[in-house]
Symmetry: C2
Subunit: 345 residues, 2 copies
């Protein structure tokens, strides 16, 4: 199968995206892969498979590689007297800003490029944690209770300690702190405000049971991964999560009852349907008092959560064959014609 | 002032956008204007001011005009041995799909082009009426009660007749019907489903008081237009609204109490703040039992609601000088460097 891995982006998770892409190169061994790197200035480069190493990017060697531009149906590389087109299906693997905020989705939609990844609406509802809460409320999906803070206004937090403080729009635990008492609050707020002017506060639930499920829609039904119980110590900090993005060995299925598994899948389906079509997403859930609560939606999970799928390659192929078509409005000039003829023009 | 009017788009409101652009050409007399047309195939053309007539587009004469491509900071026009750049501020005047659904916003953001218009999030929350309802609920903004229907599932409507049926994602009254009793229902549903698989049903409130207010944020405060009481017969159909898009003579202020005016402005502000910065929007309100209800947000109103502003040119200048900057994440390679040095590479 032909597939173009698009990675990088002007994002705090830029490095994570590089690690993800390198991991997928190994996991998708046998696929006919292209690699396109989006640098922090939004220039696209075609990267040869042999150069898919972290050092290529950290040493800026990528700047010597062929520049690509977006054209209808794909990316184009200018040659002396011709051009080469990359027009296979794109896997959007840009984590964080650009990739998960709807920008890349809109670009690919506009240029009629088929892609795996969340569409614009789905991106908006998963990238900013405020909007994920709105989405949950509207759809009746249970999640952890929360309060919002903004750098614009002074407001007290009414959730009792311990609490967890997160920038509204970042993943990978960047800027996140657990605050056990008031003495730690100011530092945690400052840290989070460095990344976002909006902050979300939630109760920190000690020893909460946590389960992750990934999945995607193909041929009208959701294909679920195994359910994983992630190991953790309090919560994964950036460095640990970073390592997590290069995971490639399959994990063991969580030892849970059929009832809980079906509850988790039901929640996943409620989140996915009529929103995330075209994407392979991972949902991270908490279970509190036998109730499933959504913690986070990862619309472009690290290394595509390959380690949760028994047949990862087969899964991507299935999804690729079932991508949504955007129905584009047909334009006509009936009204202009009718007005012109009324005017006798 | 230099300004680039971007219009057209692959949208059911394509023609309306052309009319809007022609109207603005007149209203912005004295500005240094460029016109860029996006055709239904997503090709950009540079249109000379003298060709800004409906016939240029309905007769496909635009296809002979210079093609533009997006580059960092603007649009580029290839010449024989050089290229010409259009890099003034863009006014996004594409109504409906492309312009109001977040696509154009994402494109302009990605290429670091400054623009007047809703950003991606604001587009998602105003383009699809379902998400506008979620937004209202989350922000405590009152709106008309509603039910959603989808072509996927059979569901009864519990709102008593008369009702109004609208496709979830179109403006300009396209596909909208008033249904007075059950005998008219099927036809109205079929009409709406032609345009969208999701439909919104609301009670039709006869002789409801309707008021429109436009405005924008500049220098940290909202600048409001006058409040208009639109004339109407039941509701504006497409043809009437179409004519409405070419309005250019200033309207009279609605004869309302100071109290109601301040209520309307307060609602506008609740909608606008922390969402629509960068855009000039028009909100259409109903007043029922002395309560202000949001009917619709127009994030790119027809001909920019010029007729509601006493000093329209001055308003656009103020807004242009106060456009939001998107803070782009600075990329560094600290983790890759630290991992490589730990590995001894």
């Amino acid at each position: 199968m032909k597939l173009t891995i698009l990675f990088g982006g002007a994002s705090f998770e830029h490095e994570i995206s590089i690690v993800s892409a390198i991991t997928l190169k190994e996991k998708l061994n046998g696929f006919d892969l292209n690699f396109i790197f989006c640098d922090q200035d939004h220039t696209f480069y075609s990267i040869d498979a042999k150069d898919m190493k972290a050092k290529t990017f950290s040493s800026a060697k990528h700047k010597k590689m062929p520049v690509l531009t977006l054209i209808k149906g794909g990316f184009s590389q200018k040659k002396m007297f011709s051009s080469k087109e990359h027009n296979s299906i794109v896997l959007n693997l840009i984590h964080g800003a650009d990739g998960e905020d709807g920008t890349i989705a809109a670009l690919l939609d506009f240029y009629s490029i088929k892609y795996i990844g969340p569409r614009v609406n789905a991106s908006v509802f998963s990238y900013d944690k405020r909007y994920t809460k709105w989405f949950c409320e509207a759809r009746g999906i249970k999640s952890v209770k929360y309060e919002m803070l903004s750098s614009d206004e002074q407001k007290d937090i009414s959730i009792p300690y311990p609490i967890i403080i997160k920038p509204s729009r970042l993943g990978s635990s960047i800027g996140v702190s657990i605050v056990k008492d008031e003495s730690q609050l100011d530092y945690a707020l400052d840290t989070a405000y460095e990344f976002d002017k909006n902050i979300i506060v939630e109760p920190f639930i000690e020893n909460v049971k946590e389960y992750n499920v990934a999945g995607f829609m193909a041929n009208g039904e959701i294909h679920y991964s195994i359910v994983e119980e992630p190991q953790k110590n309090e919560f994964l900090d950036f460095e640990k999560k970073y390592m997590d993005f290069s995971r490639s060995s399959q994990v063991l299925k969580a030892d849970i009852s059929d009832e809980l598994e079906s509850k988790l899948k039901k929640s996943f389906s409620k989140i996915y349907k009529n929103m995330f079509e075209g994407a392979l997403i991972r949902c991270d859930f908490f279970v509190v008092n036998n109730e499933v609560l959504l913690n986070e939606i990862n619309p472009i999970p690290g290394s595509m959560a390959n380690y949760l799928f028994e047949d990862f390659k087969g899964s991507l192929e299935k999804l690729s064959n079932s991508l949504p078509h955007s129905k584009r409005a047909k334009v006509n000039y009936d009204y202009i014609h009718s007005i012109n003829s009324a005017k006798g023009k």
